[in-house]
């Protein structure tokens, strides 16, 4: 049963932030709310005020220019992202990720800002966006700040959002030339939440050697897990399947997955190794063009 609350519907971002400032710790923000309402129904979250930002048009945008990169407003829905032409053209991995994020109904209503603010380590966007070196802009009534998405994700269902702050925008730099990025989750049902997931982004230099690389694992710890040892291993190296296997091994060692009813910790480590290997290989091949 959902406990009673007072519903507030600010008509602008400014008004929303003022409301947040006013109600501070007795309020929660709802956007798509599809995860929020589940925990409210379970009685795990009780609040006096619920501030609805879903309809705030100021935060519903996708902007791209080659210099500044991609900017996605917090209330942009998953389905808007996956059908955006500029994203299709410049960030195909985001489209692929969004496409399998959940059912179409959920993608129609759920928003990128809501997803990231939820802080679920099995959520798909965070891992991919961190692999793409995304930043996140958050703000309160006093102003805004931008931090890396990696720093934004703190722990299980915990983010760097401070009291009175909401997510405003996700910023993704334009990928360098010769960059490939891939993402895959392991699940038994096509668009189910992943038991584990891996994102990889590989940038090659003119000689076909690895210039830059990121591997980020989903549902592999309390937040998206960046495997830095793999980055060190691959930088400067050429295409080598043995290296990918070695990277997989490192990934399975450096993550911190848990055991639950769907898979044991050991199995998750194994799967993360396999996915890392596969994603690196695919990303590399994509980067080669």
């Amino acid at each position: 049963m959902i406990h009673d609350f007072t519903y507030l519907k600010p008509s602008s971002l400014k008004e929303a932030l003022t409301m947040l400032e006013e109600h501070k710790d007795d309020c929660k923000v709802i956007c798509g709310g599809q995860s929020l309402l589940i925990i409210m129904r379970q009685g795990l979250l009780v609040t006096d005020y619920l501030i609805d930002i879903k309809h705030i048009k100021e935060l519903d945008y996708i902007q791209f220019d080659a210099k500044a990169g991609l900017k996605i407003g917090a209330t942009t829905t998953h389905h808007t992202i996956e059908t955006s032409d500029v994203i299709k053209k410049n960030y195909p991995v985001l489209v692929a990720m969004e496409n399998k994020l959940a059912s179409i109904q959920v993608r129609n209503w759920g928003t990128i800002g809501g997803n990231l603010a939820h802080g679920d380590p099995s959520g798909d966007p965070a891992s991919v966006l961190i692999a793409l070196k995304a930043n996140i802009k958050v703000g309160n009534a006093k102003g805004g700040r931008t931090l890396t998405l990696e720093d934004f994700c703190v722990d299980f269902f915990e983010t760097a959002l401070e009291e009175g702050e909401i997510v405003l925008e996700v910023q993704v730099p334009t990928p360098e030339a010769k960059t490939g990025a891939t993402y895959q989750k392991f699940n038994l049902l096509e668009s189910d939440q992943g038991m584990v997931a891996a994102a990889a982004a590989v940038t090659l230099n003119g000689g076909g050697k690895c210039k830059d690389v990121r591997v980020v694992l989903g549902n592999a710890g309390p937040k998206p897990v960046r495997i830095k040892r793999v980055e060190e291993l691959l930088r400067g190296k050429g295409y080598d399947e043995k290296l990918f296997a070695e990277a997989g091994k490192i990934a399975s060692e450096d993550c911190e997955p848990v055991t639950d009813i769907h898979a044991s910790e050991e199995h998750r480590r194994h799967l993360l190794g396999v996915l890392t290997k596969r994603m690196l290989k695919q990303a590399w091949e994509q980067a080669k063009g």
Binding site: M1, L188, L189, E190, S191, I261, A263
Partner: protein, 777 residues
Amino acid sequence: MTTTSLATTKFTVINTHVHNIDGVAKVTGRATYTFDVKLPNMLYGKILRSPHPHAKILKIDYSKALEFPGVVGVVTGKEDTLGVKQGIWRRYQDLCDEQILPLDKVRYIGEPVAAVAALTEDIAEQALDLIEVDYEVLPAVYEPMDAIKKEAPEIHEGFERNINVTRHIEWGDVDEAFEEAEYIREDWFKVGGQHHVSMETRAAVSDYTPDGKLTIYHSNQSPYYLQALMAGVLGMREGDVRVISHYVGGAFGGKFELDGAIFCSAVLSKKLKRPVKIIYTREEDFIASKRRTPMFYYVRTGVKKDGTFLAREAKVFTNGGAYTGMGATALYLTGFFHSFPYRWRGYRYDGYRVYTNTLPSTSMRGFGAPQAMFTSEQQIEWIAADLGLDPIEMRRKNSHYPGYEVPGQARIESCGIDQCYDEIQKWIKEKGKLPENRAIGISACGFMTGGIFNWFDTPYAFSAAMVTINQDGTVELYVGAQDMGQGSNTTLAIICAETLGVKMEDIKLHASDTDHCPPDLGAWGSRQTLMTGNAVKMAAEDAKKQLLEFAYAHAHIVSKTGLNIVYDLDIKDRWVHNVARPERGVDYSELVKIALRGKEGQKIVGRGFYTPHRKGMISPAYSYMLQGVEVEIDEETGKIRLIDSLTAHDCGQPINHLGLIGQLEGAFSMAAGYGYLEYMPFEDGQLMNPNLVDYKMIRATEMPPTAVAEIDTYEPEGPYGAKEAGEGLTNPTAAAIGNAIFHRFGVQMKENPIRPEMILNALKEKKEQKKSGKKNK
């Protein structure tokens, strides 16, 4: 239909493209389920459930709940239901072991303890928190192999080692047959539970009125059972209880018994004299309904080197959960169908149903057979491999055939399994060489067409039907059968239309209301097409015979049809005609009017009934089928993907073509889910995934193509030669998936659902064995 084709067409309605008669209601949202029922002055009920797997109830104090604004009443076992017990085995009181509101003890997490009625669901839910219950927590046990230990806690008084019921089946000299065997193989299996997951959760609205009558809207699969059971537990006459179940949002064996929703709503309504509605949340439906029985299966099989089956022995320990429910029947049927579809010179089965502190297990589509086939059909595949034999030919030479008698149990009349093998072989051959990461698995099985058990001790015929004809020729068909989605309303209307010789749109079917329909045992064990179908056929024949009596006697019709004494009249497609000269006839509605006048204005009434006689102990007829599945398995991750499938299926004469295909496809999806997805893990008696996020089921993206090869047979006991379809196919699929994995990797999967981790572990083990084998050499 032209009149000239009437002479040559076997059927005008049966097995044609007939739409479901509830279609318009269901695709427009007009169909009202129990979930949708709203009565004037209605209250909403909620059930307080045990948080403990095993505990004594010392005290229940609900005074604060009663004071809560909006709460109208509370009921408890001690004050209201006084320990009344229920069970479907009405004839055997010791198996009626479940007090739905217990007096003094709870035996599983989620068991009802008290129920509240309030003005809204929210208020009722808040009131639950205000009921104080003092428990004395008792030691609990969750697995059958632990519960049969001497030192295990006693769950029900007087049941030694917690053994609830035992079942024994034996024929032939088993030991002698084993002695003759040239090859013997034994295996242990752990077969899983499964939840029904009907899309409509358990739901009831009870309306007890001051004149002592009770009307209950309830989502169930046998209104007559629920009427009788409710009358029993409430101390009322059956005739004073009316059960209405017009649209049922799925059941699959899980809405057969009296559940907490119907019981608590009725007790509350009786106390408060107001309608009370109780709808289970999805979580309640998971933790406090029932499930398919998990089983530990020991199988020992003896064969000749040429693959002739000689002897089989099985020992089964099932996780019965806290109460008996339908579990005793599942225990018998798993043992019986474990022998299917093969001939054994000696067969012995010992089943033990063990009480544990988990939610009770019960009937579910397949009724014990999916567990049996998971073990049997895999072991048979392994035996064929061990002996270097063709697994299909080995099965074929040992299979049932028409006229075979399962010693002391059943006589097989129609049996098309031989043709099923042909179809599967053809399918495999056509596929040719598969990609390396794919393999095909097959599995055979047979299933019942309704049960002959009268566990309920009903004085009525097993099925009955009534047909009346209106002056315009439209037909009222009354049956007690229950359609919970499987399409029985349509199937029965087809049988009626075909028999009477009218069109589908002439039939108005009345079912699912005990006040207006004849009693019928309802929808379980695949019984309605044959049993209710026979009753409908008989009723329609009765009505038709009465109509034709007027035709034979009426000068106008005699002259129109050119009738003389050696000619027969018949009605097909609303045309009353001379069978030998079908172009000569009159319109059916003309005859109806003549008959109505001839009967001084009384409607024609046709009556029919069916109870199986001299058909052995189990079922009047048996269906046969083979499931083939092409499976892709990722060697590195263990992920399974179903690529293709063929079902070769002998259901006698198909009646309802669209319904048949739908039932087979639906059974496949449920059975495949049982094979590799659906899983009910418990920790300390707590179900760990009581929601549709964590309980995984096949979705549209996981479903492979489902081709069906229908085998043409005729079952003499069934209406127009029909027998079971749609339940039996829940049985073979899990084993077929297991067999595909066996052919892909050579590993044997002895536990289901077969999850990726288990496949990888089996592969690892195999590698290690290989290594150590090499070392030893």
